[in-house]
């Protein structure tokens, strides 16, 4: 029986890292100049490097196990979900007795029991609960999420965090994602390389059927389920929102879809298909998760140790017919709302009105801006259109900028002549 020991060095028995050390003891032809072979790099990996794993589901379980076994010892994990019985086929850190418990806590406990000397700090909750100070403490962040929204959030947060005066504010983000037999792993260096938002249009859209097909000419069980959720639910329940995690709601959809399917002589409406369609679930494949997680952890290891060149920057796996993979450099998009656009520091007098500021922007030769609209946070300062908002914000033109924006505050400027937006940081003399 192995006993857990918090002291990292004393639990490192002889030969524990024999294989990993082959890579770390000596430089190779592909190692970077900054690579410090031997004790220095091992000390960083095992005693200093702090890594955050977002998501403890299908990908997260694999990622946590891989990181712990490669020698990362200070691992943090965030997940907002609890364990469902349907997770157990692939989320191998969980057992039937864990059903109903938070994934982050159970996963952390499991890894610590199994891999001596590794400390896993769980947080059961949302990534949005944490602020910049929290994310600043990590060296690397690895994401194994299934939600587009959560990824957009963490991506934007890490890009925003980059502070010109603080090199430590730039955190490499390794993002893994899978969908059935397809998956991707990518390395995002916020503000340097293409970000998650840059590639948003590459995402597979959830399949949506034309609403008239659903309404009139259903042919597939999916059409009946969409009819129940898109058309019947709001008609029958009015304002009440559909909660796809509520078994009663799913039950209602299932029965409604089943009745319709009978009417049109369509077979195949089942409870799990209903759940799958409304939650847009694509069956999770354990081996896809394993490949993508391995790739993510390989990148984390290379970035943490500089032992080899890391992925630049997008690895794509397509396992639908045979096994095909493709690696390419996804390029930054100039009009990306998160990492694209221009940013400008300007210093103006406390007495300047909004109108004066707008005149200055229009006259500025280097930015070529026409008819700018300005906001600060979610507060509108001046909008050129539509007419109602132009009218509502017009009184602000005569107000002093300093009444609306604090010293050092940010102003978002959009204009049809800008590819996306311009961000101003305002300082007062």
């Amino acid at each position: 029986m192995t006993t857990v020991n918090d002291d990292a060095t004393s639990s490192d028995w002889d030969g524990r890292y024999y294989h990993v050390d082959q890579v770390l003891n000596t430089p190779g032809p592909r190692t970077e100049d900054s690579f410090q072979a031997g004790d220095a790099v091992k000390d960083f990996l095992r005693n200093q490097c702090k890594i955050l794993v977002i998501g403890a589901g299908g990908l997260g379980c694999e990622i946590l196990a891989n990181l712990a076994l490669t020698g990362f010892k200070d691992i943090h994990v965030i997940d907002m979900d609890t364990i469902d019985i349907s997770n157990l086929n692939r989320q191998f850190l969980f057992r039937p007795k864990d059903v109903g418990n938070p994934k982050a806590l159970v996963a952390a406990e499991f890894i610590m029991q199994r891999v001596p000397g590794v400390k896993v700090t769980p947080y059961f909750g949302k990534i949005q609960d944490k602020d910049e100070d929290y994310y600043l403490q990590f060296n690397i962040i690895v994401c194994g999420l299934d939600s587009v929204e959560a990824r957009r959030w963490i991506n934007a947060t890490l890009v925003n965090m980059v502070d010109e005066e603080n090199p430590e504010s730039l955190k490499p983000l390794i993002d893994g994602g899978t969908e059935g037999f397809k998956g991707q792993a990518r390395v995002i260096l916020p503000t340097i390389s293409s970000c998650y938002e840059c590639s948003l249009d590459m995402l597979n859209k959830p399949t949506a059927f034309p609403i008239c097909t659903i309404a009139n000419t259903p042919r597939l069980p999916e059409h009946c389920i969409e009819w129940a959720s898109v058309l019947e639910w709001p008609r029958v329940h009015g304002e009440k929102k559909l909660d796809t995690d509520d078994p009663e709601h799913i039950g209602w959809l299932y029965n409604t879809a089943l009745t319709r399917a009978k009417e049109f002589k369509i077979e195949g409406v089942t409870w799990s298909l209903t759940q799958g369609v409304v939650k847009n679930i694509i069956p999770a494949i354990a081996s896809t998760n394993a490949i993508i997680a391995a790739s993510c952890c390989n990148e984390a290891f290379k970035i943490a140790t500089s032992s080899a060149a890391f992925l630049n920057n997008y690895f794509m796996l397509i396992g639908t017919e045979g096994v095909y993979s493709y690696t390419f450099e996804h390029e930054k998009r100039k009009e990306c709302p998160v990492c694209g656009g221009e940013s400008l520091d300007i210093t103006i007098s406390k007495e300047w009105t909004v109108e004066r500021l707008i005149e200055m922007l229009v006259e500025k030769q280097d930015i070529q801006i026409k008819k700018p609209s300005l906001s600060s946070g979610i507060k509108q300062i001046y909008f050129q259109a539509p007419p109602q908002l132009e009218q509502a914000t017009r009184p602000n033109l005569e107000k002093k900028v300093s009444e609306l924006v604090e010293d050092g505050g940010e102003v978002t400027v959009t204009s049809s002549t800008l590819p996306f937006n311009l961000s101003l940081r305002i300082k007062y003399t």
Binding site: C212, R235, P337, G341, Q388, N421
Partner: protein, 178 residues
């Protein structure tokens, strides 16, 4: 640990600090402030501080629906433009592509939505539905059937419905001052 910061210095000296506004919010600001709507379309914001929930009123100046005033609700969520805006027709109208609950059959609102599309594309698409109602994508089957079978009768029904009268035992909302 790799020296990322040095890569940054060599790559790009310009500061890229972004505001704390969400990408969806900035995108909606951009979409709205660059709207170029014809006289026949007007937006209305019940709460001027809430850019994500508003209405659009279309008053066609030609075609079978001329003289009517059709208001649609727009609800945009934080996943915009990954997801399309949710659009519903508020009054109960007689139209082959709009059902009695206000659902609208417009491809770019569902299966053909792409993040490169914007609010202007959706609004133009909605206006087009009143100029060219389409009998091939029916949501109101009766109306579609009528349009296909007897255009004169269909136009008459549209007129009746816009005045708030019944068509085939269904009472519609009055959307016309005529």
């Amino acid at each position: 640990m790799i020296k990322i910061w040095s890569m940054k210095k060599s790559e790009d000296a310009a500061a890229k600090r972004k505001p704390k506004t969400s990408a969806a919010q900035i995108r909606v600001q951009k979409d709205l402030t660059e709207l170029e709507l014809p006289e026949t379309m007007k937006t209305n914001f019940p709460d001027a501080n809430d850019l994500l929930n508003f209405t659009l009123t279309i008053t066609p100046d030609e075609g079978m629906y001329k003289g009517g005033s059709f208001t649609f609700s727009f609800a945009i969520n934080t996943n915009y433009p990954h997801e399309p805006p949710k659009v519903k027709c508020i009054p109960k109208i007689y139209h082959p592509n709009v059902d009695l609950d206000g659902n609208v059959c417009l491809n770019i609102l569902r299966e053909d939505w792409k993040p490169v599309l914007n609010l202007n594309s959706v609004m133009v698409g909605l206006q087009y539905l009143f100029l060219e109602p389409n009998a091939d994508d029916p949501l109101n089957k009766e109306a579609a059937e009528e349009l296909r079978r007897n255009r004169e009768q269909f136009i008459y029904n549209v007129r009746q419905a816009m005045r708030g009268n019944s068509v085939k035992a269904i009472q519609y909302d009055r959307v016309s001052a005529l």
